[in-house]
Amino acid sequence: MKQQSKSNRWLTAALLTPTGLWFAFMLVLPLIVILVFSFGERAAVGGYAGGFTLEHYANLGARLKAFSNTLTYAPIGTFLSLLVAYPLAYYLAIKVNRRYKLMLLVLVIVPFWTSLLIRTYAWIYLLGGKGIPSILDWIGIEDVRLINTPGAVLMGIVYGYLPLMVFPIYVSLDKLNKSYLEASSDLGASPYKTFMQVTLPLSMPGVATGCMLVFILLMGEFLIPAFLGGGKVFFIGNALVDLFLQSRNWPFGSAISITLVVIMLITVSLYMRMTLRNSKTGVDESLM
């Protein structure tokens, strides 16, 4: 028996080694580098020079707008994605005929076969003056500006992140035992009441997971605001791109990165505590 457990331990260690190494070299180590950089100085020609200073943390206020934009648009974008994704997931999981289910699910994924960059470029033309606004102009609604507005950015976010929200909700609705719904209506509940008291609570794990996936990615988003916001809707991700690739102030960029990580850790742990308290099943671990 002892022999057995020893070889088991070896096996576990062997299987975990690649993951462990990956985490150590691709996550922990870079994070340490960023932490060290965040206390350094901007070299005379840009980049990083050694040193120890807290001035970059003291200067975080210079990017207040980027932080507040991100912390405003990320939750709004997550909420809008949820509003669009839930009915779709509900339809796919509960209403649609089994025969078409797979095909419709594939249709949700199909856009993912093309890079987000290219799809976002397509939106630049659709939302630009010769796209949807020109059609609106034709039917008499003049001078509509769509591109390079907060609305365009939110639309891009919902468009880009929809599948990430649809699938977790779909999975939790699909797993839902349909006899609960029958029982509910047998016992006299209206469809609305059934939805509010049975379906929605049971799909909460999917909702919670979907929201977290979308929110976390949105906090680091830079492509959609850069392309559909015309550089005017500025997220913290854009500030980072700028500090590393244009003004080459790596220490300040690192300080902002560390701050972002801390903000994320706080919000995500608050969020998890909240969802765990509100739902008995909590965040569906099978989806995490």
Partner: protein
């Protein structure tokens, strides 16, 4: 487009023309093979049946790939394709919106670039930072130092060594859609006035510290190149004040101008040529209160992975005929007298390419210190994040 022979690799007349050029020695065997498509045929054969040809086969010497970093709308794709056809080297093009972005990538290392296109003011700094290599001019037979105006080509030589060869020169002014903006702005001061009034919501500024901060500085009566903290603070205030009135902050401003959303933009003169070619109401303005005159160069970064291909590529684009054919598409003037002599009247008499001397008297070449100046860098970054 209307040429029905386009679907054929080459016409009989073109073949004979290329053959004569080859016989006369004005093109190399490789160029001949490329231009006639024989090279491609051989390359295809070699790929399909590698056993047929030894490893040193055609296209083998230069490798099959080249990474080229440049600016948006700066090349005639047909000439790049021609180069690929002639050499078997596939050119992977990256477009950048600022010299600072190029510098950042090179500083971070591991770019994999073989050739890139920096602007005059950056070269000395690249040499100091040991990021670019001295050029072996014997590998650039098409380059003729003597025919390049030293006013433009000067920055290529640092400490007596040549690190770059000129690509094109041009000016940075602004473009106006004269149907939308009828007041005829002539200066950067007008530019910002119109932006914040009649043209509100339709102006594009570059995502590039040199030109965007430079424009604001000129509007305030300062030097395009100022690194004075007070003047830069004033420029930052002007930029932030204008921000709610902007359509976009981007160096790829042609899509926005073409869609009709943008009415005015900071503009390089070649883009102005391209825009005016399709939209006649686009007017290019060299501002009366200053602006930039510049030369762009071909450089090879230290550690370029495909060095031989890099030389072949630069050499190809130093050929005066190629320079002229490129200029006809991108609308930037060559610095090379041989190419200038070859260019058709449509180019040589175009005021966008060759503005009157008195208009250019107020223009400044970008100054080296603007590239690395921390205040300019932060002014730009905080304007964008404001």
């Amino acid at each position: 487009m209307s040429n029905n022979n386009n679907d054929k690799p080459i016409t009989a007349t073109k073949f004979m023309k290329e053959f004569h050029r080859y016989q006369k020695g004005s093109i190399s065997r490789r160029q001949f093979l490329g231009a006639t498509g024989l090279g491609t045929a051989m390359a295809v054969m070699a790929t399909a049946m590698p056993a047929l040809l030894p490893r040193t086969a055609f296209a083998g010497e230069l490798g099959d790939r080249l990474v080229f970093s440049t600016w948006p709308n700066y090349h005639d794709q047909a000439n790049v394709d021609q180069f690929t056809k002639a050499t078997g080297v596939n050119v992977h093009i990256n477009a950048f919106g600022s010299n600072e972005e190029m510098l950042a990538k090179l500083q971070a290392g591991g770019t994999g670039w073989d050739v890139f296109v920096p602007t005059n003011y950056t070269i000395e700094e690249y040499v100091k930072l040991d990021l670019i290599q001295e050029l072996d001019l014997s590998k650039l037979p098409n380059y003729d130092a003597g025919s390049n105006n030293p006013k433009f080509a000067g920055p290529a030589t640092v400490n007596g060594k040549v690190y770059a060869v000129p690509k094109n020169w041009g000016t940075t002014g602004f473009i106006v859609n004269s149907k939308k903006i009828t007041s005829g702005p002539t200066s950067w001061k007008d530019f910002f006035d119109v932006t914040m009034n009649a043209g509100s919501g339709h102006t594009i500024l570059h995502d590039y510290q040199l030109t965007t901060i430079g424009a604001a500085l000129c509007a305030l009566g300062h030097s395009f190149n100022s690194v004075d903290a007070k003047e830069l603070a004033a420029a930052e205030a002007l930029l932030i004040e204008s921000k709610p009135h902007l359509f976009a902050i981007t160096s790829d401003y042609q899509p926005g101008m073409r869609s009709g959303d943008g009415w005015m933009s900071i503009c390089w003169n070649g883009d102005a040529t391209q825009l005016k070619r399709d939209i006649p109401e686009m007017e290019y303005v060299v501002a009366t209160d200053g602006g930039e005159i510049w030369t762009d160069f071909y450089c090879i970064p230290k550690g370029a992975p495909h060095l031989e291909a890099a030389y072949a590529f630069i050499n190809n684009f130093q050929d005066p005929a190629v320079q002229v054919s490129d200029a006809q598409v991108h609308g930037y003037a060559p610095t090379d007298a041989r190419a200038l002599a070859l260019q058709p009247k449509s180019l040589s008499s175009d005021p966008i390419l060759h503005p009157a001397a008195e208009l250019m008297s107020g223009l400044e070449f970008g100054a080296a210190q603007t590239l690395t100046d921390p205040i300019r860098a932060e002014v730009m970054a905080s304007f964008k994040s404001a």
